[in-house]
Every structure is written in C-alpha cells, then in structure tokens.
Amino acid sequence: MAQLTCQNLTLKYDGKPIVEDLNFTIHAGDYLCIVGENGSGKSTLMKTLLGLHREYNGVMETGDGLKANEIGYLPQQTIVQKDFPASVKEIVLSGCQGRCGWRPFYTKEEKQLAMKNMERMGILALENRCYRELSGGQMQRVLLARALCATQKLLLLDEPVSGLDPKVTAEMYQLIQRLNREDKITIVMVSHDIAAAVRYASHILHIGEWVFFGTKQEYINSSVYRGFNKTEGSNNLAEKTEEQAAGRKDVRE
C-alpha cells in the first residue's frame, strides 16, 4: 500500500493550470526528489500534497494509515517577520502542535522529543537563542528539527539546502539520508541540485516542460535527464552558476 498516490493531478492558480497530469506514487521508505525549473510548480505541488493549496483536479490519496498530523514540512521560505521574538526551543516544540489536538499544553514526552530532535540537528546549544539572530544554516536546522517533531513517517522538504554553504549542504544531505535510512522516514524533497538528487534519491519526479516519474536509474537513462543537462550547459547560465556555487561540479565529473 502506498503512502501517497496521485493520479492525473493538475495544479492550478486562478483556474490556469500550472502542472498537468502528474502520476506518481510514494511508498513508505522512499526518497523522492522533485526537480524542475524555477516556476515549474514544485512548491505548489508540495503545498497541494499538504492540503495548503486546494485548487487542483485529479486524485490524491493517502494510504498506509498516514494522518495529516504525521507529516513534517520544511517550507521553501518562511517569511518570518524580522522582529519575531521566539527562542529556538519554542519553535522546535511548536512542531509537536499537530499531535496535541485540543490539548492545551505539551506533555513531557513531547518536550523530550523536541530535545532529542534538537540534539539530532546539533542545535542543542542554541536552545535559548533567539531565532532572528541565527544564521541561515542554523535557521534551516531549527526548522528541520521542528519538522521532525511533527512526523515519524513523511517529511516534505522544499529546497532544504538553498542558501547553505557547500559544507553545510553536504552535511544536510547526509542528515536527510540518515533520517531516510535509519529512521525509515519517507522523504519528499524539492531540489535544484540534480547531481545530489541523482546521488541520494531513490525516485525522481521531474516537472516542467517534460514530465517524468520513475526510479533514479530510469531517470538517468531517460532523455529528460540528458535534455535537461544539455539546456543547462548551453544557455541557462544562471542555473549553471547556481549549481556550481552549490558545489555540484565535482560530482558531475
């Protein structure tokens, strides 16, 4: 039984289709990377999977007993206001909110869980620091710890490594891989880093002009992958430099 099945999924904004006819399934333990150009609808797809964006046609089913409050989410950008006074601990703990239902306060187990996830992300020392004073990478870890508090099963990550330096990027990928392998958490990740996607993921969903869904091996052999590589090499300078900055060159060689 699949955790998530999408059939003929068409995503729209104001009646205009953004992505059409997506078909894919996600099984427990999968590591799915969603790739595609800027504006191809990756973030919209994530929001649709989470129920934040409701304008779509087609079938989207959850299975495997997956409940809404068992999904963790790392947004692409949290437009947290500059002046928000919140400590790291408060934010990570708020990841447990979904479990609470109508219960007003956190239990001891939930507080321990928050601690454990902060430790996992290596931010235990920042516990009482103010979120707005952290660096981009530290913020990302805090949000990932929060997402981990929300889930044991499925983690949706929207460009988790954007804005991180190559070293931290590599660490982040490693971390996500550990979560997938050791803790058996299903990962759905949006990424522009095709090399890393091909390296870590088990399945790839490519959206945009071409739509592709399949295992990593199928993707590498497909014309979509070769085509994408070619356009990128020839005329998409912006994307290329971004990839280089993310330290992808060495991987490709």
Partner: protein, 286 residues
Amino acid sequence: MSEMITIIVGYLQYPFVRYALIVGVLIALCSSLLGVTLVLKRFSFIGDGLSHVAFGAIAIASVLNLSNEMIFVLPATVFCAILLLRTGKNTKIQGDAAIAMISVGALAVGYLLMHLFSTSSNLSGDVCSTLFGSTSILTLTQGEVWLCTILSVIVAGMFLLFYHKIFAVTFDEDFAKASGTNAGAYNLLIAVIIAVIIVLAMNLVGSLLISALVIFPALSAMRVFQSFRSVTICSAILSVCCALIGMLVSIVAGTPVGSTIVAVDIVAFLVFCLVGNIKYHVTFRG
C-alpha cells in the same frame, strides 16, 4: 511624596475610584496579551479599526435607544473582527486597506447617525468622550464592573489555554496547517478575543487610543526580550504597571485617564528602547 500617598489613599475611599482601578488593571492585562500576536501578524491597526466599528455600533445603539449598549456593540464588533481577519488572508484586498475602509467608514457613519438622531444637547462632548475615553471609567456601575471582570477573566483564560496554539499559528501558519493544526479556528478565536478586548478597552481609553494600549507594551517588551514567552509575560506586567501609574497620575493631577495611560506607555517604551540598546552593546561589543 507622603502628601501624594495621602491624596491617593483619600481617593481610594470612593468606590468608583476603586472600580476604575480594578477595571483598568484587568483591561490593561487583557489588551497586552494579544499585542505580540497582532504586531507580528501585521495587524497593529486592527485595534483602531475595530474600535471605530465599536464607535459606529454605539451610535446605532443610542439611536435605537438600547438600554444596554454592550448587547449590540459586542456582537457587531466581533462580527467585524472576523470579517477583517478573513479579508486579511485574501490577497486581493490587503489587510491594511480593508481595515482602513471599515474603520473610517464606521467612524463617519457613526458620527453622522449621532448628529442626525442624537437627543443630547452636548453632542461634541459625547463624541469626544467616546473617542478619548474621558471620564466614563470613573462612572462605572457595579454591574459594569462585574461584566468587565468576567469578560477579562474569560479572555485571559482563553489566552492561557490556547497559548501554544496561538504561538504556532502566529509564527508559521502554513506549517501549523500542514502539520494538522486547525489554523482557521484559532485565527477565528484570535479575532473574537481581540474584539472583546477592544469593546472592554473603549471604556478605559476611548476608541482613538486603543491601539496604543494593545501594541505599546508588546513593542516595548520586544525591545528587550527574545522569546515569545518572556515577551508575553513582560508586556502583561508592563501594561498593568503603566495603566496603574497612569490612572493614579490622572486622578491626582486631574488629567484625562486615557491619554495619561498612553503617555506612561510611551515613556516606558522609550526606557525599554534604551535598555534594549544597552543590552545589545553589552552582548555584542563588550
């Protein structure tokens, strides 16, 4: 100094002064609680908007000759609060534009109605006291004091019970929704609570100065403190202190209650700015 204390103790003999102090403290406490949330949701001006709505509602109530204005004013304000927080999410009409529309509209219609139908000989005095709060805090009946007390306790209780949920929804609404929190319901709750607070606070500072009561303590606390919990606690304490000092000063010096409280809030804000700056320099330069 001891002279001042004698004067204050002398005033405390009067029940209406005691009522005013009790109600003032409760209102100050409640209005500061949601301040942080409103400032961060970019709804600083919702207090203004809603209080103008309440002003319009009072005008209608007095035209209809309702004996107890609260019965009409409270539901009308709650309704508008819900409306405002809803349109705030709609990207087609920006939150601030919607607030401006409703608040100015209600103010105009309210004044128009009062002008057309008012039986009072001192119309501008009436309007002025609704806008600036003037003396109504000193003329509270025992029934009104009880009503204020009960509503304040309910508001504070709700805030305590839903504190963590309000935090989650304020910090990151999308995440809260995605992880299974019913964000819509809590936004509704925030709207209702803020409407009740506005109607309560109109008695104290009048409808033009409510925003000050709601946002100043929160803004001051945010200068110095770093976590949501400490900011909330600090702004509650600060708000109560400022309201007490403001009321005592106004009783002794005979100044208008509302503006005096707001003036004390401003002073506190400046002090907190200073403390915040010093703290910043100590942590990062020293």
